[in-house]
Symmetry: C2
Subunit: 360 residues, 2 copies
């Protein structure tokens, strides 16, 4: 039975003003149903991981909200970090704790805020990754790129391994548009979806090889986790842990040693990076509009391909618009051209700078 | 000394959600300053009418708010109609009451919700109209048309009279675009600005000739106005008065008899008919944007030629937009293409029909 760890961190400033530091995107129902992104991430594991094998790594701010949203996940599986130390520390912590509880465990790591369509295909892809993981490959899911997107890292694929799995020759950072276009044309590259599957012992061995100090710290913390010493060991050790992504910290080095596999997947996948992506990822109405929230108070007149999020319980009237994003919340309103949706991040920076940080 | 009567009626549904039945547009500061349209209308009379010669005709709903906004206008000059009976009854009532107080009075009638630029020119135009009125012409102000606009009535001009005044040959209703284009090309037509200047005796004589029943009712009401019988005479008479505009009720008939003059004016004038007109009428910033309300909470990033009204004390962030109207109020939001601003009226109708009338 697969263990699954959900990384519930980050605030998603490109989804402001819906997503806030106090209420990040994974806590919001951005799924086309009343389930939040976090809940949908757990729902998707049905048949792959039983609830007792689901773990969440999060920070102090959202632990309580997560516990409420996921009543089926045991409280001791909700691992609360004292402060954010990036994904390498988070995945390593979950791996080390699970390894103590079940040394032969195979674990998958997922983001709490991704949308994935075609759940049967998702389950099949994960099972392919589990098969590769059982041969001690650190395995990633690679998404066949729908377009040359510069917002993602890429995986350069190598030779065929077991089943559908390919070797990962190299991890590539977010490329320029020109480079990304070349990647897509070559057929050799996949989007790095940030989904990882491995035997926890194989991962921890590679962590020890690539990042011995981080490995030692995590080992000490995991050993103290279920003891009265947890808080004191965390206090001594946590903030000294290197802050690095798991891609850079472990997978790049492992790939150079030929130890990383990927399962190419053509299922619909979105990291819900901004409101434009959200409109691409979810089903729209007959006018191409995506309406989320208080839909019955939204009145549109000749509006096409819009993304409208309404959570302020107000009437929202729109007339004669196309490719626009409107996000109406109790204390902030965003009106944005869809092709400029990524610039929301800059607006949040501007707000912070000009003393309007209360609404971010 | 000129008497001035301000007609403060109508709700301005094309300025929803700012303008409401409960708070029509003339009560709002849509003037580029903190003065409301109503206050700016009175301010503009400085040097033309002393405050004791300023009258306001309004309904029961707004009498108190008007009294507060215009502390300089004597309470007895605020004439409150029991119910709306259109402009002919309103102007006739003011004329008849003023005629009893000052039989030789010359009176001007203005709308409470128009914007007029170049106040010295405005004053000069009104004085030209007073000169024509003193020769017993019922005089209107005609605006030289800036474009073939189908939202206005037109005045067909005739022969030259005294000073700058021309005879009005005919009143023309709101035309088709084709007809309006011909009007503008001919140079013979002016927009009917809804500003009238006349000797009250001349107006009342023409009222008696054109609308004898309405004249009789108004005469009875005016006679009772400053007596204990005001309420009982109003109760008997008011709702029986014909509901007709002063243009149709008096001026068309008077024009046919050669008794109407107009003073052509090229001053900036707007009836603030919709948010697009408002953006045309008021000064904009260097990007062509008009920001009204809580401007310090509006953040724009590459936004041009927008009209933004913010009264909800919320952050409003806009990115990558042009020619858009955003009106943010505590219980309703409008986002609209500027060239569709007139359709706001239909949205208000839709809201009424679908049970969301609470915010209109």
């Amino acid at each position: 039975m697969l263990y699954s760890t959900i990384l519930a961190g980050g605030s998603g400033t490109r989804l402001w003003p819906l997503s806030r530091a106090s209420e990040p995107k994974f806590l919001h129902p951005l799924t086309g149903t009343d389930r939040t992104l976090l809940q949908a991430t757990v729902d998707r594991l049905d048949g792959l991981s039983e609830p007792g094998h689901v773990y969440v790594v999060t920070g102090t701010a959202h632990a309580a909200a997560i516990a409420r949203q996921l009543p089926q996940v045991p409280a001791e599986n909700i691992l609360v970090e004292p402060s954010p130390r990036d994904s390498c520390a988070a995945i390593s912590l979950a791996s080390a704790i699970i390894a103590l509880r079940d040394p032969d465990a195979v674990m998958a790591a997922f983001s709490a805020d991704h949308l994935i369509g075609d759940e049967p295909r998702f389950a099949a892809v994960i099972m392919q990754a589990v098969a590769a993981a059982q041969q001690d490959y650190l395995t990633t899911i690679g998404i066949r790129p729908a377009r040359p997107d510069v917002r993602f890292g890429y995986l350069k694929t190598g030779d065929q391994l077991t089943g559908e799995a390919l070797r990962v020759a190299e991890f590539k950072e977010k490329p320029s548009l020109e480079v990304a276009t070349g990647y897509v044309q070559s057929g050799q590259y996949l989007w790095n979806a940030g989904i990882f599957v491995f035997r926890v012992q194989a991962f921890l061995a590679e962590l020890e090889r690539c990042k011995p100090a981080l490995s030692a710290g995590i080992t000490a913390i995991a050993a103290a986790w279920d003891t009265p010493q947890r808080d004191s060991v965390l206090a001594e050790t946590w903030t000294g842990l290197e802050k690095i992504s798991v891609d850079y910290g472990v997978f790049e080095g492992a790939a150079a040693a030929g130890k990383v596999a990927t399962v190419p997947a053509d299922m619909p996948w979105s990291d819900v990076g901004d409101f434009h992506s959200l409109g691409e990822a979810l089903p729209t109405d007959e006018h191409g509009n995506l309406l989320i929230g208080d839909q019955d108070k939204v009145i549109t007149r000749d509006v096409k391909d819009a993304v409208v999020v309404s959570t302020a319980n107000r009437v929202v009237a729109m007339i004669g618009l196309q490719d626009v994003v409107v996000v109406d919340t109790p204390d902030a309103l965003l009106v944005c051209a869809r092709d400029r949706a990524q610039e929301v991040k800059q607006v949040v920076d501007d707000l912070r700078a000009c003393g309007e940080g209360g609404c971010i």
